[in-house]
């Protein structure tokens, strides 16, 4: 008894304590639950309303401008359209399609928002005459002056976790896709409050019938919550959290907002390290087209992928993907959302996916590196990878492709696997970079020789030396005779330097323009020594290169190392007539909603008077016409309207060519990474790549019209004396006005006597 009372008392005490505990528990738990609920609510709302996704920056090529008179051949227009994934179609009336008949095109452009205004979608008939656009008319509206195609997307700059998405608005999403998704994933979406008991019931029933899990009971809201806020572990706590957050989300936001978020969040594929999220990106990844251009069979496939993007991967498991797509199409027909014949026709279509997912930043890695370098000055890496910026670059896809192909074609010829190369192409007028190839595999994002390989430039330096000379018109003109004679120089360290010509010969006096045209070494050393090191260094610097420190006379023969990009800067100053511009790879940066953050404007600075640059360019045309660059004629015909310079370094370690037309400049370098011999001179190597490139692209001929202050003079070739058109051995060369050679040929004196005689006769008559 005593024991029992004792026990009763004890149990009584227990119960009491338990009650206390419970009370205490409730007292604490209620506010805790409340606080937890508030915290969930806070998470749901802040994350949903704040910036939801880190969006990679989109990098665009320059848009193609089409206008009457544009230098563009039909094949290159087609190449540009293909780079934009325009589809060839019989009608050519859907945005993003074209039709070609011979040289006549019908193109329907896509609308696009540029930093300086919007371009509407238009249907155009474009005609060609030879290599020029001869007419452009819009449907029914007559002549169109100017059209800008949408720019090709050439890459993206990703955040560390590499989620890639293109945001879409609900109204941009084809209704059929929404129908298919709701039919597959959540039929009660517009009725439930975040959780669907009928959905769960239907799923259970379906799963029981099938004997395995075929349907999930999660609503779209729950799926969104799961992806958005929660880890993927499967615990009861997580499930409860999910349900609570789904209810909260529905309480705060409309069905449309939730649906739109879901369409952009859902995971739809994997491309290496990059994960494909949302239907906007999926359309691009699987079909290389914007979502609103997709046909029913393509939309059905995207909807089908939601259940298992890797299991139904259309590129790896086309059979599985197709079965599920057809299932979706049948279901759409059953629900009346797609009519029977249309569904049947769609089932008859192939999967229609592109062979390889495009995007990522891999297509033009060398150029992308230049873009990132350029942007580093003004943007933090984090912002580039997360703010969804639009970056408008200067890359010209057709020129880039031609540069890659020219290099590849020539490298195949030489069959030297160690031989590497780099190509840079610029627009002369504004210094923008049109193409950049950093090695023999243009898809490989490795060592970028165009930007990073510092190599001896050899004879490419010579125009800088002659420029310094020709800036002294009282001493030097194109016809000035230079000594092609042996020379030995003793350096401060006691070593002697004895430069030689490439062929080992000496020729005695040679005119300046021929010495440059044939790239003789000895004359340029004499000129450099005569003009002096300081003016030569000054000339190099004004051309846009950092001059070497300290400098030795071997500099006159190019014993200085620069990257191909730096060489391009130097020759750009020549090509633009003595005006220096910073090379540009980016034109503008715009936010996702169309606000321009930065423009990189065209800046020109005069670095040289026009006259001496003109004289150098005249001689550089001689290089191509009958100097070391004459092999260009094999590709471009005799006397092409271009100018340029070959460069070869010791024992053929580097093969260079830098050349330009009126509007396009390209620099080509060939060599080995280990600096070994290649057996190629500038002419037999780089020049052939350059010529192959120039044969493939559209450029304006270089017409060397003399600027103010330059006039033609007759010069006696063998003496460099002033001559006249009636004298034998005279050549006409451009000279700075007021600076003829000091002495005249005796031929002129004789003629003058006769002239004076005739004047005297006139006096008598």
């Amino acid at each position: 008894m005593a024991r029992s009372t004792k026990r009763a008392r004890a149990s009584n005490g227990w119960a009491k304590r338990l009650r206390w505990l419970l009370l205490l528990g409730i007292l604490f738990a209620l506010p805790l639950a409340g606080i937890y609920g508030l915290w969930l609510d806070y998470r749901v709302t802040t994350q949903f309303e704040g910036k939801r996704w880190a969006l990679p920056a989109r990098v665009y090529a320059r848009p193609l401008e089409v206008y009457e008179g544009a230098n563009l051949r039909p094949d290159n227009l087609e190449a540009e359209l293909r780079a934009l994934d325009y589809r060839q179609e019989a009608a050519g009336r859907q945005p993003g399609t074209y039709m070609r008949r011979g040289n006549d095109f019908r193109v329907t452009t896509r609308a696009f928002q540029f930093p300086d205004g919007s371009e509407p979608s238009r249907t155009l008939d474009i005609g060609f005459a030879g290599r020029q656009v001869s007419s452009m008319r819009s449907d029914g509206n007559g002549v169109v002056d100017l059209v800008r195609l949408d720019p090709a997307l050439i890459g993206s700059i990703y955040p560390a976790h590499q989620e890639d998405r293109i945001l879409v608005k609900l109204e941009e999403v084809p209704p059929l896709l929404v129908d298919a998704l709701l039919a597959l994933e959540d039929r009660d979406f517009f009725q439930h409050h975040g959780i669907s008991f009928t959905g769960v019931g239907r799923a259970m029933l379906a799963n029981l019938q099938a004997g395995r899990v075929v349907q999930g009971g999660s609503t779209i809201t729950q799926q969104l919550v799961k992806n958005f806020y929660l880890s993927s572990e499967r615990t009861i706590i997580r499930k409860l959290n999910e349900a609570a957050m789904a209810l909260l989300l529905e309480a705060h936001y409309s069905k449309q907002e939730i649906l739109e978020a879901y369409l952009n969040e859902v995971y739809l594929g994997q491309d290496g390290a990059r994960s494909i999220h949302g239907f906007g990106m999926a359309a691009d990844y699987y079909f290389a087209r914007p979502l609103n251009e997709l046909a029913p069979h393509q939309l059905a496939l995207l909807a089908a992928l939601v259940k298992g993007p890797s299991y139904y991967d259309p590129r790896r498991y086309p059979q599985r993907a197709r079965e599920r797509r057809d299932l979706v199409l049948r279901m759409l027909a059953e629900l009346g959302q797609l009519d029977g014949p249309a569904a049947q026709a769609a089932r008859g279509r192939s999967l229609d996916v592109t062979p390889k997912g495009r995007g990522g930043d891999s297509r033009y890695p060398a150029f992308m590196e230049l873009v990132k370098q350029h942007l580093q000055r003004d943007y933090r890496a984090d912002d580039l990878a997360s703010e969804g910026l639009r970056i408008f670059t200067t890359l010209a896809p057709s020129v880039q492709d031609a540069a890659e192909q020219a290099l590849a074609a020539r490298l195949r010829q030489w069959k030297d696997k160690e031989l590497e190369g780099a190509v840079i192409t610029l627009n002369v007028d504004d210094g923008s970079v049109l193409a950049l190839v950093g090695g023999r595999d243009p898809r490989f994002a490795g060592f970028n020789r165009a930007l990073s390989a510092r190599r001896q430039i050899g004879s490419l330096i010579k125009p800088a030396v002659y420029l310094a000379a020709l800036e002294r018109p009282n001493k030097y003109g194109l016809g000035t005779l230079l000594p092609d004679e042996p020379i030995s120089l003793r350096g401060s360290n006691g070593e002697t330097w004895t430069p030689r010509n490439y062929d080992g010969e000496t020729r005695g006096p040679v005119p300046l323009w021929e010495a440059l045209g044939n790239s003789y070494n000895l004359p340029v050393v004499h000129v450099g020594l005569d003009v002096g090191m300081r003016p030569v260094l000054d000339s190099i610097e004004r051309l846009g290169l950092e001059p070497p420190q300290p400098a030795y006379p071997s500099l006159f023969l190019g014993a200085a190392s620069y990257t191909p990009l730096q060489v391009a800067q130097m020759y750009h100053t020549l090509a633009s007539g003595g005006f220096r511009s910073d090379l540009r790879a980016v034109r503008a940066v715009m936010t996702r909603d169309g606000r321009v953050l930065t423009r990189y404007p065209l800046i020109v600075e005069r670095a040289f008077e026009t006259a001496p640059v003109f004289l150098v360019n005249y001689a550089l045309q001689g290089v191509v016409w009958n100097g070391t660059g004459r092999a260009a004629a094999n590709w471009l015909g005799p006397q092409p309207q271009v100018a340029g310079k070959t460069g070869t370094t010791d024992d053929t370690r580097d093969s260079w060519f830098a050349g330009f037309s009126a509007d396009t400049l390209a620099v080509v370098w060939l060599g080995r990474d280990d600096n070994g011999k290649t057996g190629l001179t500038g002419a037999s190597g780089a020049l052939t790549v350059w010529s192959e490139l120039f044969a493939a692209i559209d450029w304006r001929p270089l017409e060397l019209y003399a600027p103010d202050g330059i006039e033609p003079m007759w010069i006696e070739r063998d003496t460099g004396l002033l001559s006249a058109d009636y004298c034998s051995g005279a050549v006409s060369l451009p000279y700075v006005r007021g600076f003829p050679p000091e002495r005249a040929s005796s031929c002129i004196d004789e003629r003058n006597l006769i002239d004076r005689a005739s004047d005297w006769l006139k006096g008598i008559l």
Binding site: Y67, E68, D116, L146, A588, P601, N626, P638, Y705, I710
Partner: protein, 186 residues
């Protein structure tokens, strides 16, 4: 400095009209001169016509120099963009004006008037450091068009003054006067 800026404010509008040189009566085309569509009515002769290429015959062993190319007409596309730039600049949106002019220059890069227009837009933006290079570029393409070159030198004189280069400004003014006289003598 203030006074000189005021002076230029007066000079500038006339400058832009003056760019469509010496063809009375001068149409009022607004502030930025828009190159005309075809060469025959062209007040600004394209540079090629003006600076007739000297008969720089190639040295004897070369073939003769190519025949003078026909002066390229300014494409309607560039003209349209110049018009757009004019509207933008009048509305105070100089950045948009500059962007349109840069586009126009990609189409007609050897048109000296477009380069001058860009120089003027930069001036209006008070982006003085960019003006001189653009004006000199215009001059390098202007050939024998003395009045266009005179206007460019006036612009250069103005920015040099603003940037504190008095001597350079005076030299530029002299150059402008010299060319202005030459243009009137024509």
């Amino acid at each position: 400095m203030k006074a000189s800026r005021l002076k230029l404010a007066i000079v500038l509008p006339s400058l832009l009209v003056a760019a469509c040189v010496s063809r009375p009566p001068v149409e009022d085309r607004g502030e930025i001169y828009v190159p005309p569509p075809s060469p025959q009515s062209s007040p600004v002769q394209p540079p090629v016509q003006q600076s007739r290429p000297p008969e720089v015959a190639r040295p004897v062993e070369r073939a003769p120099a190519p025949p003078t190319a026909a002066a390229p007409a300014i494409p309607a596309a560039a003209r349209q963009l110049a018009l757009r730039a004019e509207r933008a600049s009048q509305g105070g949106d100089h950045e948009a004006a500059a962007a349109s002019l840069e586009r126009a220059l990609r189409i007609a890069p050897s048109n000296p008037v477009l380069w001058q227009n860009l120089a003027v837009v930069r001036y209006r933006q008070r982006d003085y450091a960019k003006v001189e290079g653009l004006a000199l570029k215009s001059n390098s393409l202007a050939g024998a068009n003395a009045s266009l070159r005179a206007e460019n030198w006036r612009l250069i004189a103005e920015v040099r003054r603003v940037l504190g280069d008095r001597r350079g400004a005076d030299a530029a003014t002299q150059e402008a006067r010299r060319l202005g006289a030459a243009a009137r003598a024509d």
